[in-house]
């Protein structure tokens, strides 16, 4: 373990990390967001789901640094007297969960299909790429809306509420896979004709092994970058869906839900209810994207 850690701190990756202040800042911001979301039940000052602890008299308290603010509600409270900071921490949990799962789902699906299409070619390739083409003509949020709508209409309400989270993950994941498939297919077609792949074929290494051990590591660079950028996008998609009221169920509010709810009070002057979830969303997405950007440069052996 100690040796692994030492190797990591000696690596080029760590070196390039310490040379980039922007990256270090994004890492700190991303880490705060992730840790805050992950440990919300222990870190959050209040539990927004605990109805007994809510006091309607505390409703619409502004942030603590303003005149009417109270120290125990750092970012103010909403119309029910819920602490906004705590709601954000619990909401970011849902946002991150959906974003990560959707990205992992889209990456796995896209990379697998892209590898198969690029390496095997022929009819399979043509079929998969036409599906990609068709799907890319729609905005991905529309595809997600469509899937969500179909599931909503097909299933009774109680069932839907139970699986709503998975539906959102599936919908966002399905709407993003063509990007991965296209990128991986393109790089795979370049790599499969390179001589190191032919050398493996001369030895008689089986196609699945060649795809996994030779081609995959060489096409993963761009995938990693798209995946991190996509993580930001997926979080945004989820927020958009929730903002429109079709995303995660109302019992599990995400950042998007918080923004939607807060939006109703914006004109009456209670700006903190919607602005702080918004800022959190922006900080989370931006820091993740900047990290992805840095990762692309740092992992490219030709740029070292």
């Amino acid at each position: 373990m100690a040796a692994t850690l030492r190797r990591f701190f000696d690596s080029d990756l760590w070196w390039s990390f310490t040379r980039s202040p922007v990256t270090m800042l994004s890492a700190v911001v991303a880490l705060i967001c992730i840790l805050g979301a992950l440990f919300a039940p222990w870190l959050a000052p209040h539990n927004p789901f605990d109805l007994a602890s809510l006091n309607l008299l505390d409703a619409f308290k502004p942030p603590s640094w303003t005149e009417e603010g109270e120290a125990q509600y750092l970012l103010g409270t909403d119309d029910q007297g819920r602490d906004v900071l705590s709601a954000i921490m619990y909401g970011a949990r849902v946002s991150l969960l959906v974003g990560l799962s959707a990205t992992i789902f889209a990456t796995t699906l896209g990379v697998t299909l892209g590898l198969l299409a690029g390496y095997l070619g022929g009819k399979l390739d043509a079929l998969l790429m036409r599906i990609c083409d068709v799907q890319l003509t729609f905005p991905s949020i529309l595809v997600a809306l469509l899937i969500d709508g179909v599931v909503r209409a097909a299933l009774p309400r109680e069932v839907h509420d139970q699986i709503a989270l998975f539906v959102v993950i599936f919908a966002i994941g399905i709407s993003e896979w063509p990007k991965f498939a296209r990128t991986v297919r393109g790089s795979t077609m370049v790599e499969r004709n390179k001589e190191y792949v032919q050398a493996a074929r001369v030895i008689g290494v089986s196609p699945p092994r060649i795809m996994l051990s030779h081609v995959l590591p060489n096409v993963m660079g761009p995938v990693l970058v798209i995946a991190t950028l996509n993580l930001g996008l997926a979080i945004l998609s989820e927020a958009t869906l929730s903002f429109l009221g079709v995303g995660v169920p109302a019992t599990q509010p995400s950042l998007g839900t918080l923004i939607r709810i807060g939006n109703d009070f914006l004109f009456s002057g209670e700006w903190w209810i919607t602005i702080f979830p918004g800022i959190t969303l922006i900080a989370m997405v931006l820091s993740v994207n900047l990290l992805g950007d840095w990762l692309r440069d740092a992992l490219n052996p030709k740029l070292r």
Partner: protein, 329 residues
């Protein structure tokens, strides 16, 4: 050692379909376009010897190399490896182990994400030749030393090496499965002249030490002269002349071989007027009728336009030329 040749090509051919997509073809009203990269090649490589193939770009040398290791299947004819059909032999891993290939571009032939020791060990792992990690490490070190690198280089990545060093790594990988037959597809053409000599000497030394058989592809006559026992001159997917190395250089018979020899820079010939070969290499999609070389040949007659010449013995060589056969040269 038996008399069975290591590799035999019997009328082997490889065609590629380079047609445009079906719909476009239909609109333009044109038929399929077939590229005859290799069009009926006969040759055999006896064990322990080197056969070289030379020719201009696009004459089908590399396709022959890929046919010889089974990367392509022949469209017609047969490839025989040590007395067995190649496809059948390649189905058995103990036969597949006996053949290896060295590639032209040392920058593309090594996986950039793998460490050198993994690259060199890959064939051994694929064939399960070594019982454990320690034996593998020892063998990789031995192989790297054999090709003139340091055993410590195994921990590095390919991008840390020069072109010549990478080609040595390629050779080490090819040798790691103890092959008997190596197909070398222009192994030196991407290298500096000084490095070329080192690699060629290394390959010759390995051949004499391990009794390797080489099928050597090159477009460089000087390189070919240094390594070959026999040389085949290819033109547009067919063999024009097949002769022992020295005899080919001393007395080239086919008009195309002579034209190639003419093109070699030579101090003795300073000031002499050279006769260049006129014209371009014809397209292998629409090859000329009869002898493919007749549009550029000074000896071409009516028979050359009509009838395709076969390889026939002429002295100690085999020549595919009507003029040579008729004694018109």
């Amino acid at each position: 050692m038996s008399d069975t040749p290591m590799l035999e090509l019997c009328d082997a051919a490889r065609y590629f379909d380079v047609s445009r997509p079906a719909l476009q073809r239909l609109i333009a009203g044109e038929g399929k376009r077939i590229l005859r990269a290799v069009d009926g090649v006969n040759l055999s490589v006896p064990k322990g010897t080197t056969l070289s193939l030379v020719g201009e770009s696009g004459c089908g040398k590399s396709t022959v190399a890929r046919l010889a290791v089974g990367l392509y299947r022949p469209s017609a004819g047969q490839v025989v490896f040590d007395g067995r059909d190649l496809a059948e032999a390649r189905a058995a891993s103990d036969q597949r182990r006996r053949m290896q290939m060295i590639f032209q571009d040392p920058y593309a032939s090594l996986n950039p994400r793998w460490r050198v020791r993994d690259i060199v060990a890959e064939p051994m792992r694929a064939f399960g030749l070594l019982p454990n990690r320690a034996a593998e490490e020892a063998r990789v070190a031995e192989l790297l030393t054999q090709v003139g690198l340091s055993p410590l280089d195994g921990h590095k990545f390919p991008h840390e090496f020069s072109g010549g060093q990478r080609q040595r790594i390629s050779i080490a990988r090819a040798l790691s499965s103890n092959p008997e037959f190596l197909v070398c597809d222009e192994p030196t053409s991407a290298l500096d002249v000084s490095v070329q000599a080192q690699i060629l000497n290394l390959m010759k030394e390995l051949q004499s030490r391990m009794g390797l058989t080489y099928l050597f592809i090159s477009h460089n006559l000087a390189v070919v002269r240094q390594v070959s026992d026999r040389i085949g001159v290819m033109y547009l997917g067919r063999i024009a002349e097949l002769a022992p190395a020295e005899s080919l250089f001393r007395r080239p018979r086919h008009p195309y071989t002579r034209a190639l020899m003419e093109a070699i820079p030579d101090l003795d010939m300073t000031g002499r007027v050279r006769i260049p070969v006129g014209g371009e290499v014809p397209s292998p999609i629409t090859p000329p009728t009869g002898c493919a070389f007749h549009p550029r040949c000074s000896l071409a007659g009516p028979r050359c336009k009509a009838e395709r010449p076969e390889l026939k013995p002429a002295g100690d060589a085999m020549v595919a030329c009507h003029a040579v056969e008729e004694g018109r040269d």
